[in-house]
Symmetry: C2
Subunit: 314 residues, 2 copies
């Protein structure tokens, strides 16, 4: 059966991921998710991108906040704050149950991939979802104020420090899931989609996992990326700010340059249609589409565009 692999980080990527599940079955679509943002907080292991995808695909995501669970309460973290505890990272009461059970299972020696599989199944999501590695990889942000863990940079410091570099601690010792390595070698693989997540914070940690970039490049199936930059800015999050601080042009073209020889195809937003030729000048086939996903229809349409594009590249 035809197989597709979608590579994703958190919120932006999960939107396209949801679209893809509307046109591909669990037998056709596998997800590979960033865990560079994972961290330990208040004694629990938090896997933000896995949970964002889990809540999105199970229909439990919170439409008000754009992250976390629907129908959430915040009494735990409010009390932590009242008691003078470390309250800068918002943990919802229901969300905390996920972190607690995951932490318990990790302590008992269960691999993150097995825990992830079990949790998605429990929440009724049949799609195979793999953390980028079972070994921990931690995204560290070098800033003008010194090194910060990802969540300290992203949440506690509200992305305010100027980024001077990014490192993915443990990536060299990490290994991609065997099922993913196998899928990349399979003749059934029809295409690979890098979802519109932050290339630096969400996708690069995945590409840094030992051997994974090479395995993606060697796959016979085409690989495309959807640009998270629209009209010189990011829909959400610090992508644009980080690009500027890393002295990159804040443009969809720079995203294509960043992914480089990994790309067989690139999808840019209609706002950036005049940049199509500049992307193609990099040797990357480029499709213009509506990449801003406000509605479910937008998500499904973009998924259809991506799958159609991949078939044209084979």
């Amino acid at each position: 059966m035809a197989q597709y692999l979608a590579i994703t980080g958190g919120v932006g990527g999960a939107k396209l991921a949801l679209g893809l599940t509307h046109i591909l079955s669990p037998q056709e679509l596998t997800f590979l998710v960033n865990t560079g943002d994972d961290f330990e907080h208040l004694g629990v292991h938090v896997s933000p991108d896995i949970d964002t995808l889990m809540y999105t695909l199970s229909g439990l995501s919170n439409p008000e906040t754009g992250w976390g669970r629907v129908n959430e309460s915040w009494n735990f973290i409010a009390t932590v704050r009242e008691l003078g505890g470390d309250g800068w990272f918002n943990l919802g009461d229901r969300d905390l149950a996920i972190h607690t059970l995951r932490t318990q299972a990790l302590s008992a020696g269960e691999p993150l991939s097995a825990i992830t599989k079990r949790m998605f199944e429990t929440l009724g999501v049949a799609y195979p979802v793999y953390p980028m590695s079972d070994k921990p990889v931690r995204t560290m942000v070098d800033t003008a104020q010194g090194e910060l863990g990802f969540q300290h940079y992203f949440v506690r410091e509200h992305c305010e420090p100027v980024v001077t570099g990014l490192r993915f601690i443990g990536a060299e010792d990490a290994a991609a899931p065997p099922s993913i390595t196998q899928l990349l070698l399979s003749n059934e693989l029809q295409g690979i989609i890098i979802c519109p997540s932050n290339p630096f914070l969400s996708v690069d940690p995945i590409l840094a996992v030992n051997g994974l970039r090479d395995a993606l490049k060697s796959a016979s199936a085409p690989l495309i990326a959807v640009s998270p930059i629209i009209g010189g800015t990011a829909v959400k999050g610090p992508t644009a700010k980080i690009m500027a601080e890393l002295e990159l042009q804040v443009s969809t073209v720079a995203v294509a340059e960043h992914y480089g020889d990994l790309l067989d195809g690139f999808i840019i937003d209609q706002t950036d249609r005049d940049l199509k030729s500049r992307c193609e000048a990099l040797g990357v086939e480029t499709v213009v589409a509506q990449t801003l996903m406000k509605t479910l229809d937008d998500r499904v349409n973009l998924a259809q565009t991506a799958v159609k594009f991949l078939s044209s590249l084979r």
Copy 2:
């Protein structure tokens, strides 16, 4: 200044403890609390008796449940159950913040006594409160179904298994807080009150702490206990059931016999006034009072009776 020491377990003892705080200042009254019921659950360290006292003295106790925090929500544990996790021990969302911060501090090497002091202060309780020891002591219940940890017996199994014995693992290696040992040697100590907690489950673990029973006996100040048995049954909890299973007569007299030579005085309920002479036949001065504490006035009145009784025994 005159000093009093109150020894207490959970709910029953905390009622008298609250009464005592209405007649004695934080400079006059110290609490020593059972930690034999402490356990680790879902990755957090729970200290039920310390928390019951903390919530009671800070006005945060839940009047509906009789345990836990007021204004509580239960979304965390509901989600744990939905996910198939260990949901038999109810952890409220706000309550969980206490356990989480305590666990964090314990992991960082802070002693339970220091954590307890800090938490009571944060919640505005100025009375010195000491866990019976910083080293863990665990109450194990031998039952017809095998050995059970206290909470497994008490909460998970609803006290249903027949008790054949009780053991306090770690008690021999534990040590009472130096401040308590010092207080017991002090000339300022005017009296010691064993609150009406379960003698077997809540008070015995304290008495089992290495050297503590002897130190209580050697103190020059008188020691009294308030019987938790009223009219041949317990106000709450499994005291009566356990006494029957341990082949003790379920009577306030058996409580006096159980505390034995530790007692200088004993307070029994008015319902049991015809047992006064039998208690006194054990060589223990006995006072009849209303020990059933339904209202705050009941608590304060019983506290006054206890303090007056102690002064008559000096």
